[in-house]
């Protein structure tokens, strides 16, 4: 069955303490090419039927109302997963 993936990230201007903690661990590993880490959420919605515009629009609606809180988070993508 097709899957729609929704990705949600904490707003860029907000401190992301979980990402900051992981970035601290990276620094302890020694030299890496990475200066920052931010942690978000990925939702995989199994579609009961085709992943058409109707399903995508339902996923976008849920992404805005349930999966994210617009005060603290941004929905960064809603797309059909590759098979």
């Amino acid at each position: 069955m097709p899957v729609i993936v929704v990705e949600v990230m904490p707003k860029a201007e907000l401190l992301d303490p979980a990402g900051k903690a992981v970035a601290g661990a990276l620094a302890r590993l020694g030299s890496t090419p990475f200066s920052d880490v931010r942690i978000g959420k990925r939702f995989e919605l199994t579609v009961d039927g085709p992943a058409d515009d109707k399903a995508l629009s339902a996923a976008r609606e849920l992404a805005d109302t349930l999966f994210s809180n617009s005060v603290i988070e941004d929905v960064v993508s809603v797309k059909v997963a590759d098979e």
């Binding site: 904490p10 907000l14 401190l15 303490p17 979980a18 900051k20 903690a21 349930l66 999966f67 809180n69 005060v71 603290i72």
Partner: protein
């Protein structure tokens, strides 16, 4: 006797403490269950602290969609006194009964302390028994208690006197403007991160200069609701 409901959600921890506080204030506590579309005819409501649904998704987010929340939202809009404590505050925010949001503490750690607060608004249903500007101490214990909102919302809350409690001495979680609790426009719905229900009986509250665990500043929250209901 005035009846105040306490809603238990899966993962509520402080529901029985809230019931005890209501009893100590002279009202009858009524245990309510999140899965019922029934407020049991109560006069006021407390949404207690805890970790509903293990804080999955976002703190309070899943609980805010519980069956009973449709009745809670109707009651809030009808003017019923409703107090959200900690996880209950997070639910009220997720249910859009109060503005803004609560995020992980800026220092990244859970914090538990006896917290001094200033009562900035003593005209709400849950603070009318305090003197204006009263300074109180009640326990605080949270991991995600940082209050945030956009600049316009913060300005509106400040301008309309809807910041009800402000942290004193220490800002324990990075809340904007040291905001510990807020109210809706009407003042019947109040949410805060610290726990008044844990400061309602001598011997079981925060330390005071007079004696250990002697603080009962939280009791006034619950007696205030009784005042609000008796004059309504």
């Amino acid at each position: 006797m005035t009846r105040i409901g306490v809603i238990t959600f899966p993962g509520s921890l402080d529901d029985r403490d809230a019931q005890r506080a209501i009893r100590l204030a002279g009202a009858e506590p009524v245990a309510l269950w999140h899965g019922n579309h029934d407020l049991g005819g109560v006069d006021a409501l407390v949404l207690p602290g805890g970790f509903s649904y293990g804080d999955y998704l976002r703190c309070g987010a899943i609980a805010s969609l519980s069956p009973i929340m449709s009745e809670v939202i109707d009651a809030a809009n009808d003017g019923m006194p409703i107090l959200g404590i900690c996880n209950g505050f997070q639910m009220l925010v997720e249910a859009h009964l109060l503005p803004g949001g609560l995020v992980r503490n800026d220092h990244g750690s859970f914090i538990c302390r006896d917290q001094r607060l200033r009562v900035e608004n003593n005209s709400t249903a849950w603070t009318n028994g305090f003197e204006a500007g009263a300074e109180i101490t009640i326990p605080l214990k949270n991991g995600e208690g940082g209050y945030i909102a956009d600049t316009d919302t913060i300005a509106r809350l400040e301008g309309e006197g809807r910041v009800v409690f402000r942290y004193l001495e220490v800002n324990p979680n990075g809340s904007l403007n040291d905001i510990a609790g807020i109210a809706n426009e009407r003042g019947n719905v109040v949410g805060l991160m610290p726990h008044p229900e844990h400061a309602t009986e001598e011997g079981f509250g925060p330390d005071t200069p007079a004696a250990m665990r002697n603080g009962t500043d939280g009791l006034t929250f619950f007696t205030s609701a009784l005042n609000a209901l008796s004059v309504a």
